[in-house]
């Protein structure tokens, strides 16, 4: 029951928030709800067995029996931290957006909760059709968040976001249906369960694109690659990020992009093992291109938010390389970097949102010398910047280090190119930092009519947990990795014949 509660409680919250009569108590109420949800998701740790690689806390009921579609939730070391990341970032984003959303608050909060439910469902669903449902459902609230509360070009951005994602996912739907018929052929009864997909032996002919495994691999990979987003399918991302309101950006960068990389880990690599190995070079290549291209484009952005958006393209390239290195370091680093990116980029978007609330401008050239005016803000920004460029002791370092280790182990060529991203990352972040915080005071900073105020108590409360996590994850990664280790080991060792067992027993207590 626990996982169902975790997924569907936000839906209930969304309904309550949408019908709540009192405008004034709305925000505290929503924050309270989000914290309840976070606390509930922490309850998973109580039942979770870190030593097992099996699927845990499983809930499985027949849903559409005619096609073997089941209501199927389960969690393992791969999805555990992503679930926690989602429930953690939601209250943070809500608190961070306390003031940035002024109108139609009710609708906005309802969207946030529906989005949270959809993302959690995506991470926990273990049935293909059930997964697809949540995957697509997550589009709708984000579409509204960007379209209603976004910036000037919001409509263009939101429609682009919706259609890009939809193109990939409908082909995935066809592939899912085709796989269901394959299970019917192989096992006698039709099934949409991921565990049955793992057991399938889909014919693969090396070098031939029209072999079933390659085709379905491509369909799934396309859907996830658009979501990640991988170069050259990334163009929706800068638009969506720049136009989205701050909490939208935080959730989009923090969690939604991980739906793509998670999809690769859960739905592509173990299901299509031969195709994954065969085409790994291609994903390494576009990963590397993404890293360098994202960094170079970020370097020349005049807009802070756009810079952070392109830095996401670069960081997501790392994650892709880590995953397709197909060894223990790479995959572990990839998963860890998903969490890091959620924390550091989420925090960056929050910080950009905070300064935007004060000055209503994101143009780097209009800032300068902020350090003297806003010391606390500067410190926070600096720590997050360090995390983003992966300085040792911060979380980013662990992730990038593991990924690079994995990349060198897989094929050192990729390693050489990927390493250049570390330097480039430092270049664009520090250069931006220099121009915004040091030097002569910019026009916005010395504007006497609008004196700038340093971080409020609320904003400190928003940033504090993020900064704590930056160091916690940077100094003591084994706390986090221990929960995922068994699953990741299993994932790497059995790449050719991955199967996921269902753990029974412990969850009966609830």
């Amino acid at each position: 029951m626990l996982l169902s509660a975790v997924v569907f409680l936000p839906m209930l919250f969304a309904l309550i928030v949408a019908l709540w009569p009192n405008q004034r108590t709305l925000r505290p109420l929503a924050l309270g709800f989000a914290l309840i949800e976070f606390a509930l998701s922490l309850g998973i740790f109580y039942y979770f067995d870190p030593s097992s690689s099996a699927l845990q806390l499983v809930e499985r009921y027949p849903w559409i029996e005619r096609f073997g579609i089941t209501y199927f939730f389960g969690i393992d070391g791969i999805s555990l931290w992503l679930v926690i990341l989602t429930t953690f970032l939601t209250p943070v984003a809500l608190l961070g957006a306390w003031k940035s959303i002024e109108e139609r608050v009710r609708g906005f909060l309802a969207c946030v909760f529906i989005l949270e439910a959809a993302m959690l469902g995506t991470f926990l669903a273990m049935d293909a059709v059930f997964f697809y449902l949540f995957w697509e459902l997550s589009l709708v609230p984000m579409y509204f968040m960007i379209g209603i509360w976004g910036g000037a070009r919001r409509i263009y951005a939101t429609v682009k976001f919706f259609i890009f994602t939809m193109v990939g996912s409908v082909l995935m739907l066809v592939a899912i249906i085709y796989m269901m018929f394959l299970t019917a052929e192989a096992f006698g009864t039709m099934s949409a369960s991921l565990l049955d997909f793992y057991r399938l032996d889909i014919p693969f002919i090396s070098g031939q694109f029209l072999s079933p495994q390659t085709l379905m691999f491509s369909a799934f990979a396309l859907a996830f690659a658009i979501k990640v987003p991988v170069f050259p399918l990334h163009t929706w991302l800068p638009d969506a990020h720049v136009e989205a309101p701050t909490p939208g950006s935080v959730i989009l960068a923090g969690v939604m992009l991980k739906m793509g990389t998670y999809g690769f880990m859960r739905w592509v690599m173990p299901v299509f093992p031969e195709a994954t190995v065969h085409y790994a070079w291609f994903f390494m290549l576009i990963g590397v291109i993404g890293i360098i291209y994202g960094a170079l484009v970020a370097m020349v952005q005049p807009d802070i938010k756009k810079l952070v958006a392109y830095s996401s393209v670069s960081h997501m390239g790392y994650i892709l390389i880590g995953l397709f290195a197909l060894n223990e370091f790479g995959v572990t680093g990839g998963l860890y970097q998903m969490l890091n990116h959620g924390i550091s980029t989420g925090a960056l978007f929050l910080l950009v949102g905070m300064i935007y609330e004060r000055t209503h401008s994101r143009e780097i050239s209009r800032y300068g010398g902020l350090a003297g005016v806003l010391p606390f803000f500067t410190i926070a920004f600096f720590i997050v910047t360090l995390s983003s460029i992966a300085v040792p002791m911060t979380n980013g370092f662990i992730g990038e280090f593991l990924i690079l280790l994995g990349a060198f182990q897989a094929n050192s060529v990729w390693g050489y190119f990927a390493v250049s991203g570390v330097v480039l990352g430092a270049v664009y972040m520090l250069w931006m930092f220099k121009r915004v915080f040091f030097g002569p005071q910019g026009e916005l900073v010395k504007d006497e009519h609008h004196p700038l105020h340093d971080l409020s108590v609320r904003e400190m409360f928003v940033l504090a947990p993020m900064i704590v996590l930056v160091f916690w994850m940077g100094l003591y990664p084994s706390f986090f990795l221990n929960y995922s280790k068994a699953s990741l080991d299993h994932f790497v060792k059995n790449q050719a014949h991955y199967e996921l067992a269902i753990q029974s027993g412990k969850e009966v207590a609830q």
Binding site: F67, I69, L137, I148, T158, I177
Partner: protein, 490 residues
């Protein structure tokens, strides 16, 4: 040939009789009152009563049929099987919705409302004949009863200009389609020696490859239906007629008429003609692809909301044709057919709801609604805007709405029959469709404006709420619903 008509036959057609009798009530009352309209509400109740009686009788007949050996009536002219009851009930439901719209809409309400309800119920009687017909000539009778009433319904509208044009266009092209159909029937009769469908089906296997005349005949019959359900390139009448007709009638045409036409189409395609003739099979597949593309691409360019929905309904015909083709080539007919019928349920509900919103916004009989005029509607009427959002997302096939499951079952049956490339065309088209289905939502929620509906119109609001509720609720229990449909078919 002698024909005996027993009480059993009359019992079998009792839903049609009930509808026919109910249709007479409003005009009789009007005559007795000295050609003075009774209150429209009374007329509406009489119409809805007739539909309800027909629905109950249809169910009763279907349930009792289980104990009876012969499900056919009138010397094998009519049959009461799963298609009849499932499509029949759905048709009655959406027709009731369309009647609610007619009650409220300024173009249809007024001094000829009794006649309108009479015509509508006659049209529904024709639909019930059409879904239960297993003889090609009876199919024709059903088709004409349905269509002739419809031409008149459109023509007596209070709308000044477009509806007259629409009625005439619909009449001429409808007549053309009927002529094609009859021409084909003549060839089939000439080669098979019968118009009884099971007999036609039995001889299809042998005749389709050997007799060109038979192939010509069956192709003509299929093309006649393609006209009726607006398959491109025979779709040209649809946008004009849908736009010009009063909105309630458009809703009626786009839902009930299309649903029963597709049901009859299913019966004819079940003849396995597609298996026998490779060319016909290819031809139909191309029709489906062209229809989807034409409908979706043209819909993007529309500014008039009704016209956009008209093109979208053409696109939906394309998806449905994929299902019809699947049914035509599969050995296990019931799977493909039930996916088509399920999609028809989804399609009818969402189309009815969408046209109901258009109807709600029309302030007078000559009012035309552009998509841009929806700006700001979400602030004024949050509930109605939410309903329209649900309906549009369902049409675009976004889960977990009924529209998604409709597409899912349709594509599943197509892929199951190996029509993978057709399914890929269909899903890519549904992405194109997302663009224009999002437009009303964008305009309603994200643009400032003074959109307002006419107010009041509780019957129409009920129809919108009920259809939106069904879209979400039936989406969640789509599995059992699909199984029920499939069980009634087999």
């Amino acid at each position: 040939m002698t024909t005996t008509i027993g009480l059993g036959d009359l019992f079998s057609i009792s839903p049609m009789i009930a509808l026919f009798l109910a249709s007479l009530i409003p005009i009789t009352v009007k005559v007795l009152r000295g050609n003075v309209e009774q209150p429209p509400f009374a007329t509406l109740i009489q119409g809805l009563g007739g539909i309800l009686a027909a629905a109950i009788l249809l169910l009763t007949v279907f349930v009792l049929r289980g104990q009876q050996l012969n499900p056919t009536a009138f010397a094998n002219a009519l049959v009461l099987d799963g298609v009849t009851v499932s499509v029949g009930l759905m048709t009655l439901l959406v027709s009731a919705g369309a009647l609610l719209l007619m009650y409220d809409n300024p173009a249809t309400r007024g001094n000829q409302f009794s006649e309108l309800i009479f015509l509508a119920l006659s049209s529904i009687t024709g639909m019930l004949i059409l879904v239960s017909a297993v003889d090609l000539l009876v199919v024709f009778i059903g088709l004409e009863t349905m269509s002739l009433s419809l031409y008149m319904m459109i023509a007596i509208s209070h709308e000044q200009k477009l509806s007259k044009e629409a009625a005439l266009k619909y009449f001429i092209l409808g007549g053309f389609a009927s002529a094609l159909f009859l021409y084909g029937v003549a060839f089939i009769f000439g080669t098979v020696g019968s118009t009884y469908l099971p007999q036609v089906i039995a001889s299809t296997g042998a005749l389709i490859s050997s007799s060109r005349l038979f192939l010509f005949g069956i192709t003509m019959v299929i093309l006649g239906f393609c006209f009726k359900v607006s398959i491109a390139p025979f779709h040209a009448w649809t946008p004009d007629v849908y736009q010009g007709s009063p909105t309630p009638h458009t809703a009626f045409m786009a839902t009930a008429v299309k649903a029963v036409s597709f049901a009859a189409f299913l019966r004819i395609i079940a003849s396995n003609a597609l298996v026998g003739s490779e060319n016909l099979f290819d031809f139909m597949q191309w029709l489906a692809v062209i229809t989807m593309i034409v409908g979706n691409v043209a819909a993007i360019l529309q500014n008039n909301f009704k016209r956009m929905l008209a093109y979208s309904s053409i696109a939906h015909s394309g998806y449905l044709l994929v299902g019809v083709i699947t049914t035509g080539v599969s050995d296990d007919m019931s799977f493909g057919a039930s996916s088509v019928i399920f999609y028809l349920v989804a399609y009818s509900l969402m189309t009815l709801g969408a046209f109901a919103i258009v109807s709600l916004m029309e302030r007078d009989e000559n009012h035309s609604i552009s998509i841009d005029s929806l700006a700001g509607y979400a602030r004024k009427r949050p509930l109605m805007a939410l309903c329209l959002t649900v309906l549009m997302l369902s049409m675009a096939g976004v889960p977990p709405t009924l529209g998604f499951f409709g597409k899912f079952y349709l594509f599943t049956s197509a892929i199951g029959e190996g029509l993978l490339w057709l399914a890929i065309w269909a899903v890519l088209n549904s992405v194109i469709s997302v663009y224009y289905y999002l437009r009303p939502i964008v305009v309603m929620y994200m643009k400032e404006g003074e959109a307002m509906d006419a107010g009041g119109m509780f019957a129409t609001r009920t129809a919108i709420l009920v259809s939106s509720f069904f879209i979400v609720f039936l989406g969640l229990i789509s599995g059992p619903l699909f199984e029920v449909i499939e069980r009634t078919l087999s």
